[in-house]
């Protein structure tokens, strides 16, 4: 079963997506990741203001069977977190690219987004 890969977003090998708008970015996990994890029960998100390193862990996502780190696609500073996930972690399963977003960041180096996988490359990665 193939899960949705949305065009226009950038992707990491660890299954995070990034929607970059200049030096602002929104980050979440892909439908593939949400599907692999199963029903999400909890998302531990960082505090606003936290500085993130590229590929560093910015939180933990918990499903009924596992707990996994969330990795930052780019370095930057957290400017907002999706509070709705506190009461409704299942949004990550139902709308991973929309209402299931996790954090907003101010990206240190906007050019670094281009180094990530595009939608086609990510489709290839998750097809095999």
């Amino acid at each position: 079963m193939t899960t949705e890969v949305r065009d226009g977003l950038r992707y990491t090998r660890d299954h995070e997506w990034l929607r970059a708008e200049g030096d602002e970015g929104v980050i979440g996990i892909t439908a593939f990741a949400a599907d692999e994890l199963g029903d999400i029960v909890f998302v531990e998100l960082p505090a606003v203001g936290r500085k993130l390193e590229k590929a560093g862990s910015f939180g933990v996502i918990e499903s009924v069977k596992t707990a996994s780190d969330l990795y930052a696609p780019v370095a930057g500073e957290v400017t907002a977190v999706n509070e709705a996930l506190n009461a409704s972690p299942e949004l990550v399963n139902s709308d991973p690219y929309g209402d299931g977003w996790m954090i907003r960041v101010r990206i240190d180096d906007p050019a670094s987004a281009a180094a990530l996988l595009d939608a086609d490359a990510y489709r290839e990665l998750t097809a095999g």
Partner: protein
Amino acid sequence: MPYGPHTADDRGQMLAALGIDSVDALFDDIPASVRASGLDLPGPEPELLLARRLEGLAGRNRVDLASFLGAGVYRHFVPAAVDQVLSRGEFYTAYTPYQPEVSQGTLQTIFEYQSLLAELTGLPVVSASHYDGAAATAEAVLMTIRATGRNRVLISRAVHRHYVDTTVTYLSGGRYVLEELPTADDGTTDLDALERALAEGEPVAGVVLGQPNAFGVLEPMAQAAALAHAAGARFVAVVEPVSLAVLATPAEYGADIAAGEGQPLGIAPQYGGPYLGILACANELIRQIPGRLVGRALDLDGRRAYVMTLRAREQDIRRDKAASNICTNQALCALAATTYLAVIGPHGLRDVAAGGAAAARKLERALAAAGAPRIHGGAYLNEFCVRVPDAERVHAALLERGVLAGLAMARWFPRDAALRDALLVCATEVTSDDEIEKFASSLAEVLAASPAQVAA
């Protein structure tokens, strides 16, 4: 499913599947220098001789003493029903309830245990239990550190000495700071010192007080909780469960976490264990509480069922991100506590607490008349310290006369001059007037005698 041990054939098949010749190969990574070379044990004995040998050992235990020893472990009357329920094979040998389909009985009793402790503490979240009061206290302290992101914890010197020591061990490694708060003359924790400690230095993650405290004295918990919260710290109450029937509950005085020793609930003193670690917390800390949580749910057919829940908190799933390495509970001891509480009920528990308090007041009067007055002025429930010159020697002399005169406080506070001459004594609903009379008269004898006569 057979419960017999592996046969040689079984072992042979497994070795073949692994591609090795002997089990020893599995331990190749362990250096020879640290490997044990057999155990120096006697050979097998016939059951009759073995029983005799063990009875001989057991016979060295003193079971004849008039005991006034508390200090965290309390003798209560345990109804016969407790043993009957515990001894049922379904409970006695049951394993961890990982499969709810075959563990509904165990899971239900744990759920009931959690529910009863939630009623007693007033706190909505109760774990399935920990090893003992010391472990529970240490885990509570770690919870305050995780919840606040701070590294400094204040603990009253009047929290049970073993719990403080265990917490020190849990926090060892250099990153955390555990400071002891002094006590005032009346035996309560010095709130001025607490206020100063909160105002100066690194921000405090948690403040820990015992109720009753290790001197038996009742602490100003609500005030201490308010001071802690004003400084952004969490408040931990280390509680004795029977006392919760008559004292204000941790929830009522604003505790975020309650830890304690569940032994007084239907478990005999047992010379030190096994015991029962109680840990309860407010709802907002539910993801920080370590240990099992059992919840009530519905199965596919809509029938009530019990399951372990919020499992992803636990270390077998969360691994290095877990709050604690605990992946068990004291299921049988929790069952004893559950059965005890169910059998005696809330009124019964009040009677137990009140009975102990009444006996303790008789004890206080008798000991004061015999020459050993209370040291502290603070209120107490059923345990208190009395002044006795050269307490350790007197304690030994009383033991010779068949009285276990509580705990010589010098054992917990070796460098405290005032407590060198102190005995911590308690009474419960099983303490008889005769026992009190025996203690008082023996004490009077010992105090009147010269040191030479006492030692005889």
